[in-house]
């Protein structure tokens, strides 16, 4: 079947989709957006978290066909999404990664690319600064979930952070640096205001 939906502000079309495919599979294997991660495919780890019409969901539990006509934000679009939110504009439309850009994604090795010049959202920067990234496999899902938490609750208590992120497993960090990162992003956010 064919599925049309918007990803990171750009209309996308996937063809020959098998009806049992998940949104996660379509993003990763058909749209060149592998940032959302395939750690458990059973809704038990949060690595595949995306915003579906603004709501954080496990994309592994969304049938591809259910995404028809809907609006998806993935980690690849998080920086633009946060920027537009900060600027208070561009709910949809010509923001984010172009289809061409998205499909040009290709394998990159672990070189020393520091990505300087890449514009990051505050939560992305905080994860790097706080040492919240180790293997990084849980990171995309945690970023989407943390960003949404801070959007809802700019000044969360530790218990609020733990509750909001309780659907995202991390196996490397012991979560302490993730807590630090969310606190850091919240603090930076409140300084700006």
């Amino acid at each position: 079947m064919r599925v049309n939906f918007t990803v990171n502000g750009r209309p996308q079309e996937a063809d020959d989709v098998w009806e049992g495919e998940s949104l996660l599979y379509v993003l990763r294997e058909r749209l060149g957006l592998p940032g959302s991660k395939n750690a458990c495919e059973q809704g038990e780890c949060g690595s595949c978290t995306v915003r579906l019409d603004g709501v954080p969901v496990c994309s592994c539990l969304v049938a591809a066909g259910q995404a028809e006509g809907r609006d998806v934000v993935t980690v690849e679009g998080l920086a633009d999404f946060a920027k537009q939110r900060a600027e208070g504009g561009c709910a949809s439309g010509a923001c984010g990664t172009t289809l061409q850009d998205a499909q040009q994604w290709k394998a990159k090795g672990t070189d020393s690319q520091t990505g300087e010049g890449t514009e990051l959202s505050p939560i992305q920067q905080a994860f790097i600064d706080a040492g919240a990234v180790q293997c990084g496999f849980c990171t995309p899902g945690l970023l989407v979930a943390s960003d949404e938490l801070l959007e809802r609750n700019p000044n969360p208590s530790d218990a609020d952070i733990r509750e909001a992120l309780s659907g995202n497993l991390c196996r490397c960090t012991g979560y302490e640096k993730i807590m630090d990162a969310v606190r850091l992003a919240a603090a930076r956010q409140s300084e700006e205001v």
Binding site: A39, G109, Q134, E176
Partner: protein, 794 residues
Amino acid sequence: MPTNGAPTKITQGSQTKGGIGESTLRPDGTLKVTGEFAYSSDMWHEDMLWGQILRSTVAHAEIVSIDISEALAMAGVYAVLTYDDLPTEVKNYGLEIQDTPVLAHGKVRHHGEPVALVAADHPETARRAAAKIKVDYRELPVITDEASATAPDAILVHENRDDHHAGHVPHPNIVHRQPIIRGNVEEARKRADVIVEGEYTFGMQDQAFLGPESGLAVPEEDGGVHLYVATQWLHSDLKQIAPVLGLPEEKVRMTLSGVGGAFGGREDLSMQIHACLLALRTGKPVKIVYNRFESFFGHVHRHPAKLYYEHGATKDGKLTHMKCKIVLDGGAYASASPAVVGNASSLSVGPYVVDDVDIEAIALYSNNPPCGAMRGFGAVQACFAYEAQMDKLAKKLGMDPVEFRQLNAMEQGTIMPTGQPVDSPAPVAELLRRVKAMPMPPERQWESSEGADVRQLPGGLSNTTHGENVVRGVGIAVGIKNVGFSEGFDDYSTAKVRMEVIGGEPVVTVHTAMAEVGQGGVTVHAQIARTELGVTQVTIHPADTQVGSAGSTSASRQTYVTGGAVKNTCELVREKVLEIGRRKFGSYHPAWATAELLLEGGKVVTDGGEVLGDLADVLEGEVVEIEEEWRHRPTEAFDLRTGQGNGHVQYSFAAHRAVVEVDTELGLVKVIELACAQDVGKALNPLSVVGQIQGGTTQGLGVAVMEEIIVDPKTAKVRNPSFTDYLIPTILDTPTIPVDVLELADDHAPYGLRGIGEAPTLSSTPAVLAAIRNATGLELNRTPVRPEHLTGTA
């Protein structure tokens, strides 16, 4: 009691920004937060096929027949392979003993063993085809424990063993046995005023890395194959893959893809050979990605263990002797079992002084899932048991458990049960003092003006208690782990370092085959290069097999060994650069010849601080590139009868204090705080060091209260291969983890550093168990402890 070791002398590069000792940020951080970092499961190729593995549905059976005809006839299916399709005489692989069939031959020995492979144009087509392969099994009795493995009439898991352990084991279903005898236990026992015995059980833990086994094999024009994969040791993979494919090693090119965690679970091969076989057969790129269910069958687990301990002590609290037997279940294939036995036996006494010991460790062959490497292997199981013993002894003697441990703590100069002297700082008593001295977390943090905050109570969001029957407990434990590969293994690493001028700036490229699995080796390598070569711009080349082996990312060894190799090669490059400088500029300034020269901040300076010139000028028109192997000091094998030998390179120590709150009526546990003190020798990157300690601590917490692969003892089948039923700690299960880092230099190691990755996983588990015992008064001789164990309803 040592509180300060020799300060580590770092002169070279101490003025260069981003060098060692700083918490520089990960070079791959930006790619990882933007979703661009290419993990092995993200690899994609035009025209690629999907590989699928058909696995055995039973644990132990003869294969009567395999019929692939229906699968092969399906549209979209490009290949179906079984044992008969293997191209050469080499049909097995293995880390130390090549006993693992690439595809089952006539027999399966564990639930989930690979039997056949499919390549198809879509994962669903591949799954449907695999489901159409008909395998006729004739089931055999299963071997599941020591009794069934060593019974006189036991079926042999592997017949006709000819490996190097076969000759000395008491039964062919024992992979390896290592006794350690020192002193005279019978005599020493007579001096004991108290004797404590215990029988302990350690459950089967899974690494549960989040990035599933995956990779992409691309056939190449020269008949070879290029494999992009997530692994812990590229060259070890290569040695096992190439012979099975019938290719010379240079025709199997391997590039490390992004690795989504490892923790030992990627030390053995998983999909590597399978993907290559399918790619070579079909002539197309083949991608294999396990799902979580398959991942539980696709890698080895931590050895479950039974541990029998006897300790004695005098009434003034001095240990007299220790006798133990440790039975590790290695499952169907050897994997790392021999090394796990070596660690378990040689570290079974813990970080304590005991002169008279009688130790025996064995690993079984059984029909349970194969077990092998996981963070802290061998030492983790032993630490759980000996720390329980220490608490029992202290209790029996009426002593404070920390003071009792301190009284018996090893220190620099202590002789290990293997006869090996501990020749670098061993601040065991000090680590215990530090965790004990940390401020206690406030009581009843769950109380708020709006009633109980269940998120901070046992049971969490499930709303099981509002404070009823919640009892606090505190426990302390300490452990010892060896660093690096032991027992005479030639444990080396290779680093290639290139220095040149690009755009007027001196730039260094570091190329190793080290598997970055998340630990931050790439960060540290860049720091070392900056320190040694006085530059700021360092590029880390992707890890591949175009450079010599870096050894495994395991055994807490990479910063030590590959870090040591990078340091060593950088030193050679520095000499070369200075040689060029002397040649070019020596005549302009006498200091070039007379002073000790350093590279700092992009300049050549004298040890007196005088700047002699810019590196950019020295290197103008020159490229310095050196590839060199580096080894730590050699170790020896343990004697097979006495266990004597200088088997280990270095030891690593950590202590934990756990504070728990237990709902004693429901048997639910909330860990409130898990404080750790660890000696790291030298923290090359303090932020990463703390991150490693916190992560290791949490894995220890997991196996204390929830993590266990449950195998049906009747069928040897895995009952919970999913993240629904194999639970790892969430952020609501994980407490704050304050870390106190001690830096006592080991003069034998680069920069005085100590391998750190594993030690925190050891003592975390027994500390939590001790705290639960403290809260409940129960004996608790197994881990993980489940609610039924705390409520008498097991």
